[in-house]
Amino acid sequence: MSNAILVLFAHPALQRSRVQRALAKAVRDLEGVTFHDLYEAYPDFDVDVAREQALLAAHDVVVLQHPLYWYAAPPLVKQWFDLVLEHGWAYGARGTALVGKRFLCAVSAGGDEAAYCAEGENRFSLRQLLAPVEQTARLCGMEFLDPFVVYGTHALGEDEIEAAAAAYAARLGALRGAER
C-alpha cells in the first residue's frame, strides 16, 4: 500500500545549480520514486503528452520540484501544464484521471523566509505566490499539500544544503507510506 511518487524536476541550467542539484540527488534513487527531469527530456519544449499522461496515471503522488524564478516555475513547467493537463482528461466533466492524487510543490528560493510575508520585501507568502499552481491541482481533483520550501538559497552553506536535501528525502519517504 505504499504510494508511487513521481518527481517532475525542472531546472534549465543544472550545471550551475547548488541547491536543486543536492535536492535531486537526495531523492532520485529512492525506492518508489520516479525521477523525471523535464529539461533533459524535452530540451526543445516538445512535450510528449501521451507519455506524460501515462506517467501521471501510474503514480499516486506528484511532486513538482524547481527553483523559484521570478516568483514562478521555469517556463518548461508552464509548457508542460498547458499541454499535458488536457480538458476531458485532467479536468472537465469527464476529466477524472488525476482525481484523488496528491500534489506537492518542492521549491527553492533565493529570498529569505522573512521576506515572504505581507511586511517583507516580497509582500506575499510563498503559499500565496503558488496560488495558480494550487488552484490548478485543485481543479484536477488533486489534494495540494503544504509546499516543501528551501528559503534563502543564496546564503546557504554546504552543510545547510545537505540538511535541506535530507529533509526533502524524509518528506518524500513520509509521503510514500502515508495514507490519505
Binding site: A13, R16, Y39, A41, P43, G110, H154
Partner: protein, 628 residues
Amino acid sequence: MQTGFFFQALVYLCAAVVAVPIARRLGLGSVLGYLLAGAAIGPFALGLVGREGADVLHFAEVGVVMMLFLIGLELEAVRLWALRGALLGLGGIQVVATSLAIGVTALALGAEWRVALVAGLVLALSSTAIALQSLREKGLARTDAGERAFAVLLFQDLAVIPMLVLLPLLGAHAAGAGGAAHGATAIDALPAWGRALATLAAVAAIVLAGRFVVPPLFRAVARSGVREAFTAAALLLVVAIVLLMQSVGLSPALGTFLGGVVLASSEFRHELEGDIEPFKGLLLGLFFLSVGASIDFGVVAANGASVAALVVGLVAVKAAVLLALGRAARLSAEQNLLFAAALAQGGEFAFVLFSLAAQGGVLAPEEADLLVATVALSMAATPLLLLGWERAVRPRFGARRAAREPDAIDREGPVILAGFGAFGSIVGRFLLANGVETVVLDADSDHVALMRGFGIRAYYGDASREELLRAAGAERARLLIVATGSLETMRKVIHTAKHDFPKLRVAARARSRVEAYELLDAGADAIYRASLDTALRSGADALRALGFPAYHAHRAAQRFRRHDEASWRELAAVRRDERVFQSRARESLQLLERLLREERDVPDPVDDNAWDAASLRAERARRDATDC
C-alpha cells in the same frame, strides 16, 4: 496552281505573319486575324491554297488534331472533379437547352427529325479554341465569366464523346454510303450498330493503351534522358493515334482528344504540354487559318439570305440560352454579356461531326456545307462580339476591373517542389503530411511513377523549363523549393523562376557553403544548407553523451547555428570581391580557415549569464557582512 508542301507552308506562314500583327494593331485580336487571312488565301478568294470543293481542312488536320490533343491534356481528372458542380450545372444545362432550342427551331422550319437532332446537338457546342484563346489574349480568362465559360467548354468537350459514338446510329443509308473523305474503310462495311460498336471499341482501346501501355513506354524513353527523344515520342503518339483512327475510318480528332484526356492524369502531362506548347500557338493559328479558308463563299453567295439568317439565328439562340444561364448563376450583367459573347459560336467539333453525319447519310452534302459555313462564320463573329463587349459594355460598368483576386485555395497547389531526392523527399513528405498541396517535379520517371502510386501530384520533367514550371502552376504557386541534383540545374531553375515568375518565392537547398553562395548569387530568396541542422544535432548529442545537460546542448547548437548563419551572410558580401580567380575547392578551404580562426577566440558559445545566481550570492554575502 502550285501545291508543293513548301509552297503551301509559305502561303500559310505569310498570311499569319502579315495578317495577325495587323489584326492585333486594329484591336481585333489574333483569332480574327487568322480567320481573315485564311479567308483571303482560301480557294474562294485568292485561291492560293486548296482547290475549290476540296477539303481545305484536310491540310490543317494536323492543327486540329494537335489542338484537340492539347485540349484533352487539360482535362485532368482532379480538375474535372473540382469543377464538377459548374460542369454539370452550367455545362449540362447549356448543352441540353441549346440542343432543344435549335432542334425545335429546325423542326419548326420543316427539317427532318434526324437533321434537327444532329444540328441541335452539334451546334450546341462552342469553340474551345476560339473562346479560350480570345479570353486569354484579352486577359479575361480569370474573370467570373471566363471561369464559367471554361467549365461550359469542358463539359462540351466531354459531351463530344457520346455524340461521336451515337452519330453512326442515326445513319439513314446502308453500309458503304459514306466514306467520301477517307475512301472506303473497313468500318464502312459494317451496319450502323456495328459502326457504333467499333467506335466504342476504338475509344476503349485508346483509353486502355493510354492507361497501361503508353506510360511505361514513355518512362523508358524518359530514362534515356534525351529530351528530343521524349518530344519525338509525344509526336509519335499523336501520329499513331491519327493513323489508327483513319485506318478504321474514325475521326482522328476524337482519337487524339481521347489520348489527351487519358494522359492528362499521367505524370507526363506537364512534360507533354511543355513539349507541345511552343507549337500550340502556331498549330492553333493553322487551325484558324484553315477555318477561314474553308468558308465556302460559293455556298455563302448562293444562299446569302439563308446563311445570314442561320448565322444570326445561331448566335442569337446560343446567346439567349447563355444569358439565361448566366443569370441563374448570378453573374453580373456585365460578366453575363461577356459569358454569352464568348460562347455564342459553333465549335471546331462541328466540322468533324457534320462531315461524319454527311458520310453516314444523315445530312445531305449541301446541308452539311451550309452548316459548316454557318459555324465558320459564327466563329468569325466571336472576336467581333468580344470587341463590341470591350468597347460598348465594359466602359459602362466603370472601373470595376475584371481580373478578380486569385482563389484562396489554389487548384494548382501552393508549393512546387523541384527534385524529390534525399532532401526533397523529406520536405515533400512533411508538406503532404501537413495537408499542403504540393506539386512535385522530378527528372527520374521511376521516382515519379512511385509517387503517383501514392496519389502524390508528381510530374516528370526538367524543372528549369519555363513551360513545365508554368504548367505546374508557377504563376499561382506561393513557393518553389529547389532541391534538384546538380548545381547547374538548380541555378537554371532559380534563374527561370526569377525571370519568368518574379512573384514566386524561391527557396533552395545547398549542399555546401560554396554551393550556398552560388545559389544566393543565382537569386534564391532563401537558402537551406542541407547538412547544417543534422551536423549540429549530432554535435549536440555528442555534448549530451559527455554529460552536458540536454537543454544546454540544445541551446548551444541553436546559438552556434545563429552564429554560423550570420557569419555566412557576412562573408557573402566579402566573397564577391575576392572570389574572381579562385577555384571552388580553394575557396571552400579559405572559408573554413577563416571560420576556424574566428571561432578559436570564442571561449564558450553558451556561457552567458543565463540562470546564474553567483552574483546574487556575492551581493548577499556583502550585505550580510555589512549587517553584522
